[in-house]
């Protein structure tokens, strides 16, 4: 009798196990299907950008058949843009501005974060709070007084004004991330270096920067993203084509009055989105880690 109950119990356990297993499997497949639906929806615009960029102007205006398919793929839009001097200027300007902004922002924020996380001075606590508050100031709040200020400095319609202004958008968050990473470095490390006779710059260069490399990568990507994609400042402060950067250049150059060369516009969008996509493809993990740490930790 005891054997039968035991067997019965085992059977119940087994069936429960398979039902639990089946439930898990269902949840897994359900998640995959739901995610796939979301991915398809989210990728519609980039897909359509690609499709349109491969069409000739004639095919776009003919409106024969589905706009979601290419019938005669061509690279003429890309070729046009690559050989178009204005577009080359925009690209070059974007690269110059971005590289300078990244270098300037990272220098300022690493120095400041090193000081704020290690060397207390009068008011350093409130300065860290202030840095975080500055991060919350959106560019659209101050662009009009900045227009006046830039005008007084004489940098209106000169892409150097972006090199000055973009760091105000990038530095606060970069500093904030870096303070978090630097604070997690054990104090014993720099005390040991101090006793060995290292000065502060050596400590920063030989200990802090190598140890906090993931944070530096995350902050660099943030500065890059801000300066590559910003739209309001260049739209407000630049108006001749040899000073423009990609975001405004594409919109003001390829859209002339009512003539929309959509094939070329979409190809230009694709070329402009390429650097961020490539960078994110390789360094996404660092960035996500830095971002979530930045907003959730201190």
């Amino acid at each position: 009798m005891s054997a039968t109950t035991l067997e019965h119990g085992r059977k119940v356990a087994a069936s429960r196990k398979t039902s639990l297993h089946r439930q898990r499997l269902w949840a897994l497949w359900g998640s995959y299907i739901a995610l796939a639906v979301f991915v398809v929806i989210f990728l519609v615009p980039p897909f359509y950008t690609l499709i349109t960029s491969l069409k000739s102007s004639a095919e776009i205006s003919a409106q024969s058949g589905s706009p979601w398919l290419v019938h005669h793929p061509t690279l003429e839009n890309f070729w046009y843009l690559i050989t178009y001097p204005n577009f080359q200027t925009y690209y070059l300007n974007s690269v110059i501005v971005t590289v300078l902004v990244v270098v300037v922002s990272m220098t300022i924020s690493i120095l400041a974060a090193f000081s704020l996380s290690r060397m207390g001075f009068w008011g350093s606590q409130s300065l860290s709070t202030g840095v975080f508050l500055t991060y919350l100031v959106p560019p659209s709040l101050l662009f009009i007084p900045l227009f006046q200020i830039i005008g007084k400095i004489g940098l209106i319609n000169n892409f150097w004004c972006l090199v000055i202004l973009y760091p105000t958008l990038a530095v606060p968050f970069c500093t904030w991330i870096m303070i978090g990473y630097f604070s997690s470095i054990p104090k014993e490390l720099d005390e040991a270096a101090l006793i060995d006779g290292a000065n502060y710059l050596q400590i920063l260069w030989k200990i802090f920067i190598p140890v906090a490399m993931p944070g530096i990568i995350a902050a660099t990507i943030f500065a890059f993203t801000v300066s590559w994609g910003a739209f309001l400042y260049p739209l407000a402060y630049l108006y001749t084509s040899h000073e423009m950067v990609l975001t405004v250049g594409i919109i003001s150059d390829l859209i002339r009055g009512d003539v929309f060369q959509w094939g070329k516009i979409m190809a230009a969008c694709l070329l402009a989105s390429l650097p961020p996509i490539v960078i994110y493809a390789f360094l996404m993990d660092y960035y996500v880690a830095g971002l979530t740490a930045g907003a959730t930790k201190g």
Partner: protein, 315 residues
């Protein structure tokens, strides 16, 4: 830099405590001086291009159009009486609140779906879902504009295939508002997803096990375990996104430029139109300044949430 040498001197002369204290103080002093100097570029940048412009904006907003005479608050009262500006206030709130709620909801669902699937494939799915957020917003908005184009709209083609008449996407007020919100949700949801995913991963598994033993169902687990544990991150993310969405410029500017009949203007685009395009800088500055109270309000709570969070992690 000779700062590092002050410690060895102090160490070498342990007997003379007064001298040691002096050198220690000198060391601390020098340390804080160096600290201040390292922060100087940051302080100058913020003071010159954030704090000074903020006060300058207040000054500008109290001038007349030619910037010759002081008019007090009459720019603000003028704006409040203007019908277009009342629309702007309503639309900014509608745009920000609706988008943030939708982003938070969809982001939450996506984070849960991602959390269900095993770690290795998660990276690929996450990468795909982050694409909208990676492309520069101005560029992807151009694509959306092209998809909403009145005569070539790709969405209308699909609707026509099902026998539904074409929709004038950006030509009619409420539809255009819907379109701007859609683009914002499409762009911003991935950010919510990664924040919530990080938060979900930080919830200890034991809590769910304990809840399961107590007989909690999926909904009960969600309301009594997941949401309380994520409360802080949800609040920070929502408030932060509220600030960014409220101050958004790119989407409305490119998609509709505020039209049709000013029915999609938000603060940033209206300030741009008034201040830069029409050249009425004081009025534009006052439009921007109207954003300040709500931004300050949200910023206060974000800061409180972040400091609370820091304390929680520290203890």
């Amino acid at each position: 830099m000779a700062d590092g040498t002050s410690i060895p001197i102090g160490v070498m002369a342990p007997g003379r405590s007064a001298a040691r204290r002096g050198s220690m103080r000198r060391f601390a002093q020098r340390r804080s001086t160096v600290g201040f100097l390292l922060c100087l570029p940051l302080i100058l940048l913020i003071a010159g291009f954030v704090i000074y412009p903020a006060f300058y904006a207040i000054y500008l907003s109290m001038l007349n159009k030619k910037m010759t005479t002081f008019v007090g608050l009459s720019n603000f009262t003028f704006l409040l009486k203007r019908h277009t500006f009342q629309l702007v206030i309503f639309q900014s709130c509608l745009f920000a609140i609706t988008s943030v709620i939708l982003k938070a909801l969809i982001g939450f669902i996506l984070a849960h779906l991602m959390h269900n699937i095993p770690g290795k494939t998660q990276r690929i799915w996450r990468g795909l879902l982050l694409v909208p957020w990676v492309i520069p917003l101005a560029m992807s908005t151009l694509t959306w504009w092209w998809m909403f184009d009145p005569s070539y709209s790709a969405f209308n083609w699909i609707l026509n295939q099902f026998g539904i008449a074409s929709v004038p996407w950006l030509g009619v007020g409420w539809i255009a508002r819907f379109c701007t919100i859609t683009v914002n949700v499409w762009f911003g949801t991935p950010f919510f997803m990664i924040m919530y995913l990080a938060a979900l991963k930080s919830v200890p598994e034991q809590l769910y096990e304990a809840a399961a033993i107590d007989g909690a169902g999926a909904l009960q687990k969600l309301f009594f375990v997941t949401l309380p544990m994520m409360r802080n991150i949800i609040a920070i993310t929502v408030l932060f996104s509220l600030i960014v969405t409220f101050a958004d410029f790119d989407i409305v500017r490119i998609l509709t430029s505020g039209g049709p009949q000013d029915m999609t203007h938000v603060f940033a685009t209206y300030a741009f139109q008034v201040g830069i395009q029409s050249g009425d800088i004081p009025l534009g500055a006052s439009v921007s300044l109207f954003m300040f109270p709500i931004l300050a309000f949200a910023a206060f709570f974000v800061l409180r949430g972040v400091t609370q969070r820091t304390k929680e992690i520290a203890t």
